[in-house]
Symmetry: C2
Subunit: 393 residues, 2 copies
């Protein structure tokens, strides 16, 4: 897929490692509507701080992104360097620096290699082409094992609207407002307020529902740019068109979010924790999140052990009131626990077979209300520890 007006480029800039794409550019041939959802961590990387400011006018023309260095915990010097990288690009593209969004991912606390930018901005801009989207998706990978992109189109008000999304992230993933990095472009015609209105709930239901290891990054961000090329009548709040747009955006973000979970560091399985029968959505989410973050639950999944006791134990510390002897738990369509008690050995044997699959849904019914939420996670493997004991070396 291509979207007219957008072009992309990526180069091997040697920011931290040689011989890999590590500097990417998303460019629109004119300033377009933009919105973002950025990390809620108190410790925010320099590019996050800059983007919060630059997104205020709801307008952007380019996203400059690097892997290899997060430019986080780098103080005034880190801010200064980030500004310099933007200015280098602005000069090369002959656009305003304020319309460039910056994004970094990689090791925290090390200075950004500004020389790598200086030497490579020119070839980066020269490489811009409408079919280079996936090269950028590759350039933003760190411990990811696969590139993560999503192409989607939907009819809004009788007009075809297109979306192209990418994401990266495999560890330090329990986004709170955004994942590590995700960029989506669309040709929808939409105002910046309406774009923000669509983005916030879409992020809440997608990136904010995944967890690999319970850690929230300093650099998390989702950025969306909409250039209006589809020429639909501009989307107004509260209309069917707004609902369709939000649905399509959420589809793209969910696809990317699940790709992140499936590629979680060391993950061998994707696990959906669905909590139903809660009194409130927030309680359902809290229970699901506590289970999804339990190291004991996640190692049991890795061991393909239908250890529902660990699930109930995790639920018990979630801080949400429920009656343990009303709880049902099933793996796929096999009920393991009914009214808080084991159904029996043969159900466990069937569940153990289900655990050999790559995608598993755990349903927890609290039977005390009508609210339901899902959280998406992966198992906790030996490779997770290997990857993270080793990441910087």
């Amino acid at each position: 897929m291509e979207i007219k007006g957008f072009s992309f480029s990526a180069v091997e800039a040697g920011i931290r490692y040689q011989d890999r794409l590590d500097l990417g550019l998303i460019y629109s041939d004119h300033p377009v509507v933009a919105a973002g959802a950025l990390t809620t961590s108190l410790v925010k990387a320099a590019p996050v701080l800059i983007d919060i400011d630059r997104l205020e006018d709801g307008c952007a023309q380019a996203i400059l992104v690097n892997s290899g260095c997060a430019n986080a915990c780098t103080g005034e010097a880190g801010m200064e360097v980030a500004f310099v990288t933007g200015e280098l690009l602005a000069k090369e593209l002959e656009i305003k620096p304020e319309n460039i969004l910056l994004s970094s991912t990689g090791v925290i606390g090390e200075p950004l290699n500004v020389r790598a930018f200086r030497d490579n901005i020119s070839p980066l801009v020269q490489g811009l082409a409408p079919d280079n989207f996936e090269k950028v998706a590759q350039a933003i990978m760190t411990t990811d094992t696969v590139q993560k992109v999503c192409y989607h189109s939907v009819e809004i008000d009788g007009v075809d609207v297109h979306f192209m999304g990418m994401a990266k992230g495999a560890g330090m993933i329990m986004p709170n407002m955004a994942t590590m990095l995700s960029f989506v472009i669309t040709d929808a015609q939409i105002g910046s307020a309406q774009l923000k209105e669509a983005l916030t709930p879409a992020v809440k239901k997608t990136f904010n529902r995944i967890t690999v290891d319970g850690d929230t990054s300093t650099n998390d961000m989702v950025l969306v740019m909409a250039n209006g090329g589809a020429q639909n009548s501009s989307i107004k709040s509260g209309t069917q068109a707004a609902e369709d747009f939000q649905g399509a955006l959420q589809y793209v973000l969910m696809d990317l979010a699940l790709k992140i979970v499936a590629d979680g560091e060391g993950a061998s399985k994707m696990i959906t924790i669905r909590v139903c029968g809660a009194r409130e959505d927030a309680e359902a989410e809290q229970v699901a999140r506590t289970v999804a973050n339990s190291s004991l639950v996640k190692t049991a999944f890795f061991g393909e052990d239908a250890n529902w006791g660990r699930i109930l134990a995790a639920m018990g510390r979630a801080g949400v009131p429920f009656d343990p002897y009303q709880v049902d738990i099933s793996f796929g369509d096999v009920t393991l626990v009914r009214d808080g008690l084991a159904v029996g050995r043969s159900a466990e044997d069937t569940a153990t077979a289900i655990l050999k699959e790559k995608e598993i849904t755990v349903c927890i019914d609290l039977k005390s209300g009508k609210c339901c939420e899902e959280v998406y996670t992966c198992d906790f493997s030996i490779d997770y520890v290997k990857i993270n004991a080793d990441y910087r070396s």
Copy 2:
């Protein structure tokens, strides 16, 4: 050490595995003062529910404990079986069942093997001897690799008072009121209200400050029995004697708590996270606990990587306000981060050498107040995953 009036026994009852001590008994030759701190998990094992009730009168004569089965999530049947085990023991000892405290540890959700109790209560009672304390400490081990005991004596009001403590626990350890299991006996003369008064703050500063994996067990408990044999004048609240007693009890609990962390599942290092300069104790604790529970921080310690960026990132999601650019972080006596910024490569190299040690203290100074708290944890290793992927098989 022995304490007159107390005797101990343990047998191989075959509750889950053969050829290992798995049933233990702590017995006092008369009913004595007792207090407990039990799990705050909403999901409470049968013995926990029974003990909460039986501790109300502040009096007990025996503790019956088994490993191999937690008797948690077992409903009415589990309660019934627990009562039966107590009655079997009461009959054999010719004491009141209400004076027997019950304790179980092991797999959740499986029925307790009552026959193993029936067949072994008699040899268990026959084996009672004043020097069998460590046999009970062995009988309560599950994934523990070493028995954990602590002997301590202290002068209170001019009289020598003795303490004998044991604990077990290696995984599912983020106690909230208690660790998995810990039993302490003492010959102090003290009322039940005063004993409870001493126990609560002592648990708060010790077992409630350790975390192996962020999971709180359904079976956590600390039980203390005091038989008055030291013949000190009974300890009154608010006196020097009360302070001395509380200090001694806290010493014993801290010793046992740190032994649990050092023997954390798969642990290769013990790590103290000390947060200073906080505005409130609770904020210091919250920051320390968030860092101590971060999988990324813990895997970095396993990898002996002085990755302070992960520490700052974890702090950023702790929900506690602080200025990242005021934070100092040191490993041992090496300052790695000053005012939120890296001190430099040579400090990191020195810190990396410190990480090769078995016990490491991380000091985090928020520089925004005068409050300090410590949380104790261990690293997150490949073996943790192996142990927990494999525990039930």
